[in-house]
């Protein structure tokens, strides 16, 4: 395990613990966190912003009349909180903090231990999946608007949360299996809960065979990436010195090709990037890839790093 990988593992585990169990200690981090800290986990210490976005008090489920009143201001305030948090840590929310992402990384860790290979998507399929998260994002905004203004049944409320696999999987860590139940109060809830069960099973299997499988579809990732150009963190590449060895492309949990293929632009922080820094770690060319905070380099690629972190001195330590 490499240094950054270890550090990330530590930060992820800590934030998992804080965000999932912090509520029991009275910790309240607000309702606008840009990560999947699920409000349905009873003991959570902060809420995922996607819920606020779909709600009546803080999001889009309001009528146009309400929107220009105090409610609108509250929604705006909530967004401001989200925006601020987003620009500070940018995609690091996904790669370093998000508890659902951490869960996926743990599952991947298990798969690698078992020596099972990751399944591969073709380049075309990978590109076709990209817009799905934006479509989900549009739906989770449009449906609450329709509830607020066009009289859509309120059981469609919080549409994304209803189908989100995190709502089923994360409460397990607080000992709660309740959300696996099918709600048969009316046809809408029955339909939604059956769809959500199917999706959860699909994603759970997917996560095992593919790194960060859910992130490929995550609407919150899409929302963060809309504001990433205001972010303080950046991933930069010295294109002239890149030999194109492809290490970055191969180790990327989201199979991003742009970092490898980019030959002109300096900025390689792309839509799907979760700033896990695997690419920077694995780049053998000095300072070709670097993580920047404003203009300051925090971490950059080097031969030394690879020599120290990827080469095992003794044979016995090799088989992981």
């Amino acid at each position: 395990m490499t240094k950054v990988y270890k550090l990330r593992f530590l930060v992820q585990s800590m934030s998992f613990a804080v965000l999932t169990y912090g509520g029991r200690l009275g910790l309240r981090l607000g309702h606008c966190l840009p990560c999947f800290t699920c409000p349905y986990v009873g003991s959570c210490s902060g809420h995922c912003y996607l819920m606020a976005l779909q709600r009546s008090q803080w999001g889009f489920q309001i009528s146009f009349a309400e929107a220009i009143s105090v409610w609108g201001l509250r929604a705006l305030g909530m967004f401001a909180g989200f925006f601020l948090l987003t620009i500070i840590f940018s995609k690091a929310w996904c790669g370093w903090i998000c508890p659902f992402g951490t869960l996926q990384d743990w599952i991947t860790f298990l798969r690698k231990k078992l020596g099972i290979r990751e399944s591969q998507f073709s380049w075309t399929l990978r590109d076709r999946l990209k817009p799905i998260k934006y479509i989900l994002l549009i739906f989770l905004i449009v449906i609450p608007i329709l509830i607020g203004n066009a009289g859509l049944h309120s059981d469609f409320g919080l549409p994304f949360c209803q189908i989100c696999p995190a709502k089923k999987l994360m409460p397990i860590f607080a000992g709660n299996f309740r959300y696996f139940a099918v709600d048969i109060s009316n046809p809408i809830t029955a339909f939604m809960s059956i769809v959500s069960l199917i999706l959860t099973a699909f994603f759970f299997v997917g996560m095992f065979f593919k790194d960060r499988f859910f992130c490929l579809f995550c609407p919150l990732l899409a929302l963060i990436s809309l504001f990433e150009k205001f972010g303080f963190l950046g991933l930069e590449k010295k294109v002239d010195a890149c030999t194109g060895c492809g290490n970055c492309q191969r180790v990327c949990p989201l199979n991003i090709r742009e970092v490898h293929l980019e030959k002109k632009k300096k900025n390689v922080l792309t839509q799907d990037c979760i700033l896990c820094l695997r690419c920077v770690e694995s780049c053998p060319q000095a300072k070709v890839l670097s993580l920047k905070f404003f203009k300051n380099t925090i971490f950059s690629s080097s031969k030394d790093y690879i020599s120290k972190r990827f080469i095992k001195k003794k044979r016995e330590n090799l088989c992981n």
Binding site: K112, G115, I116, R117, E118, S122, W123, V239, D240, A241, C242, T243, G244, C245, G246, N247, Q249, R250, V251, H260, L261, K263, R278, S282, P284, K303, I306, S307, F310, I311, K312, R315, L318, C319, N320
Partner: protein
């Protein structure tokens, strides 16, 4: 008639003996020439010893106990051979004398390297003949046609079809398929399955070699070790056992002390491969008063790259190997090869190298083709450019030296 044919055979054998002696002399002369250099030290003797092996194949057998696989070109993954218990040797030849065996039946403008390689099959014993398997990746046309040139010898070559577009999905997946096929073939030859942890151990071995090689390159960039020696050391990697090579390089770097007082202008050596005993170009550059601070030869700096894998599954490891040998290679036979020129310019800027010597073996078309565009761009970027077209012969030494000396004057 019978007598005649016996006589003919006899004279043939005599000629073969004579050529064999000439080859030995050629290797010996080059080695003693290197020994006499002022920057020779005892630690380097090990590498010169390696180059006594091609002329005495029996020593090779004794030295390396495993069965041999001969590989033409650098694209076949060494780690895979190593993991399955073979000793991979990258076959290459810089011998002029050996060409007398092959030139009668090859086109006049054949790449000298291939001419020499073909000649080796007409010796009564050579490393090539010791190999149990000969692997040929189809890089340049000469390599592709190599099996055909020796078809009368009926040697069972294993051909790897190399996709010439790297940065596309189909190129990458086709090469991965080739690697899988090679694995299956080697498993059959070895009579056992590939062991995942064994492959990890091999990858780690070669990563250590990469690390040592990286240090060697660093020394070279700072002018602490000269270009000729770094090329010789890299050449030795192609024959030697990887672990002992790594150890010896580390020892050399630990003890190497270059005589002080050298402020020659640095140059970049690009173009066709240079392999022992053909070190004419690098020696002449140094004789003309320039240091080769960097090169991009496939027999030198391009030899070893890093293999980083995230997936310890067999698929993950083979994918890492396939990409390391495919994507990171900047051979001019690739179509999407624009990074090569950018990297050269970047190295020259970083290390303040003012000129580039573009070495070209007569008949090496891919490098020749690229040289014209290179010249234009390199000159546009404010660097000096000198193209030298030559072969293994020694006749043009004075001529080249004069051109190099004139080139040096433009660098100061």
């Amino acid at each position: 008639m019978q007598l005649n044919s016996a006589e003919r055979n006899n004279s043939k054998a005599k000629l073969a003996q004579k050529i064999k002696k000439e080859i030995q002399e050629e290797y010996h002369r080059q080695a003693s020439f290197l020994r006499e250099r002022s920057d020779f030290c005892q630690e380097l003797e090990y590498f010169l010893e390696i180059f006594s092996l091609p002329v005495s194949p029996q020593k090779v057998k004794k030295r390396f106990s495993r069965p041999f696989v001969g590989i033409y070109c650098i694209q076949a993954p060494l780690e895979l051979f190593d993991a399955l218990g073979f000793h991979p040797i990258r076959l290459c030849s810089g011998s002029l004398a050996i060409q007398r065996l092959s030139s009668p039946f090859l086109p006049a403008l054949t790449c000298p390297l291939i001419k020499s390689c073909v000649g080796a099959f007409y010796l009564d014993e050579s490393i090539e003949k010791l190999c149990d398997i000969l692997v040929v990746p189809t890089t340049c046309d000469w390599n592709t046609k190599l099996p055909e040139m020796i078809q009368d010898k009926a040697i069972p070559f294993y051909i790897m079809e190399l996709p010439h577009i790297k940065e596309s999905e189909r190129g990458q997946s086709r090469w991965l398929e080739e690697i899988y096929e090679l694995k299956r073939f080697l498993e059959q030859c070895a009579g056992r399955r590939l062991n995942r942890s064994q492959l990890q151990i091999s990858v780690n071995k070669y990563m250590k070699a990469w690390q040592a090689f990286g240090r060697l390159i660093e020394f070279r960039r700072r002018g602490l070790i000269c270009g000729t020696w770094s090329i010789v050391l890299a050449n030795a990697f192609m024959i030697d056992d990887v672990e002992s090579w790594t150890d010896k390089v580390n020892i050399v770097l630990k003890n190497y002390d270059k005589p002080e007082g050298n402020s020659n202008p640095g140059v970049f050596l690009a173009g066709s491969p240079v392999f022992f005993p053909y070190l004419k170009i690098s020696e002449l550059i140094e004789e003309a008063g320039m240091d080769i601070l960097a090169d991009e030869l496939c027999t030198s700096e391009r030899l070893i790259a890093s293999v980083i894998y995230d997936e310890p599954s067999e698929y993950g490891l083979l994918k890492a190997l396939s990409e390391r040998y495919h994507l990171s290679c900047s051979c001019p036979t690739y179509i999407d090869n624009d990074r090569r020129l950018k990297n050269i310019l970047n190295t020259m800027r970083t290390y303040n190298i003012k000129g580039i010597v573009y070495h070209l073996l007569k008949g090496c078309h891919p490098y020749d083709l690229e040289s014209f565009y290179f010249e234009k761009v390199i000159k546009e970027n404010g660097f000096r450019f000198l193209k030298i077209e030559t072969d293994y012969s020694r006749e043009d030494r004075q001529n080249i030296l004069a051109r190099l000396e004139a080139f040096r004057a433009t660098l100061c």
